[in-house]
Symmetry: C2
Subunit: 162 residues, 2 copies
Amino acid sequence: MAVRPDRSVASGTIAWTQVRDEIRARGLRWTAQRRRILEVLEATRGHVTGSELVERCRERDPATTPSTVYRTLDVLEELGYLSHSHSAAGREEFHVMPEAEHAHLQCRVCGRTWELDADEAESVVDPVARSHGFAADLGHLTILGRCAVCVSAEAAEPRLPA
Amino acid sequence: MAVRPDRSVASGTIAWTQVRDEIRARGLRWTAQRRRILEVLEATRGHVTGSELVERCRERDPATTPSTVYRTLDVLEELGYLSHSHSAAGREEFHVMPEAEHAHLQCRVCGRTWELDADEAESVVDPVARSHGFAADLGHLTILGRCAVCVSAEAAEPRLPA
DNA sequence: CACGCTATCGCAACACGTAGCGATAAGAGG
DNA sequence: CCTCTTATCGCTACGTGTTGCGATAGCGTG
Ligand SMILES: [Mn+2]
Ligand SMILES: [Mn+2]
Ligand SMILES: [Zn+2]
Ligand SMILES: [Zn+2]
C-alpha cells in the first residue's frame, strides 16, 4: 500500500520539499503543524516512538496536539516516508526513512536491539514465502528472544549463587 | 524465565487444581478473583486479548477490576500457563496453554492469521540463531504481511477499474 | 483577490493498560 | 481457632494513543 518514492537526497534524511509537493499533489494540505513535524523528523536518527515525537514537537511549539502528530505520522507512513515496527513492549517505533528495509532482533533480558539487513531478513521469511506464498513485511518484523550474551550468562549462573 | 510444568490433561485445557497448587507452593495466594479468571480461561479457546478476558470475567462478576485481571495474567504467563504474541495493531493476544509453541502469520489486508508449527517456526529463526546466536521466542513471533490470496488479488486489480 | 470545498485542526471523551497506595484477607504457624 | 506476615485487592491517577465533532484554514478556481 505504502508507496516508496524515489529520493535524490542522502539516505536517512527527509527531503521535506518533496514531501510538501507530494502532499499537495494528492489533494492533501501542507500546514504549519505538518511542517513542524517534518522538521522534527529531519533532526531525528534511528528509532523513535510517537510520544517522543510529540515531546520534540512540543519543544518547538508547546501548543502541539498529540492527535495531530499521530495523524500526520499515519499520513507519512502511508506515503512511504516512515515505517514502524514494535518494541518488546508492543509500542510502535518509527523509522525515519531507513536507508534500506530492515528487520529487528530484540533481547528481552538486556533490551538491546540489532538490525537485520534486507538479505538476512529475507532469509528469515523465505520459508513462509515458499510454503504459504506469504509476502512478509520485513520492516515491521521484530524477533524477540535472548541474545547470545544473555543466553551464556544464564548458562553460567543457573541459580542464585547461595 | 517462564517455566512450563508437565501436565496430565488434554492439550488446550488448564488444570486449575494444578495452578492452585503451584501458586500456593510459590508462596502466592489462591483467591476468588484468580479462581474466576481461571474459570474464564478454561472456557476459552485460541487467542484472546486482555480486555476480552476482563469482559468475560465481568459477565460472571460485574465487580471485576481490570488491574486484577491483568496482574493475574502476568502471573500465569510467568508460571508458563499462558503466552502472548501481538496482533497487527500491537495489542497483546494471549494463548491459553497452546498444545505446542507456535508462531503466527497475519495478513494486513484481510486480517486472517495462520499458525506456524514449531518446526516451521524453527526454520524461520534458524538464520538468526546461526549468525547471531540469538535464541528467538517463537511463541511471541508474529510475521505481518500479505497472504497469497491478497497478493494475487492485488496483481489482478492493479488500479481501480474505471 | 475573493469564493467555496473540504482536509485538517484542537478539543474532549474514550479505550486499554500500568503503577502506587492503603486496606483486606490468604494461609502458615502456634 | 488466633495471630502475624505480606500477597493481593480495589481505587485512583497516569501514559499512550484513537476517535468523533464542530471550527478553521489550505488551496484550487474564477
Ligand atoms: Mn510482547
Ligand atoms: Mn504495527
Ligand atoms: Zn541480551
Ligand atoms: Zn490476506
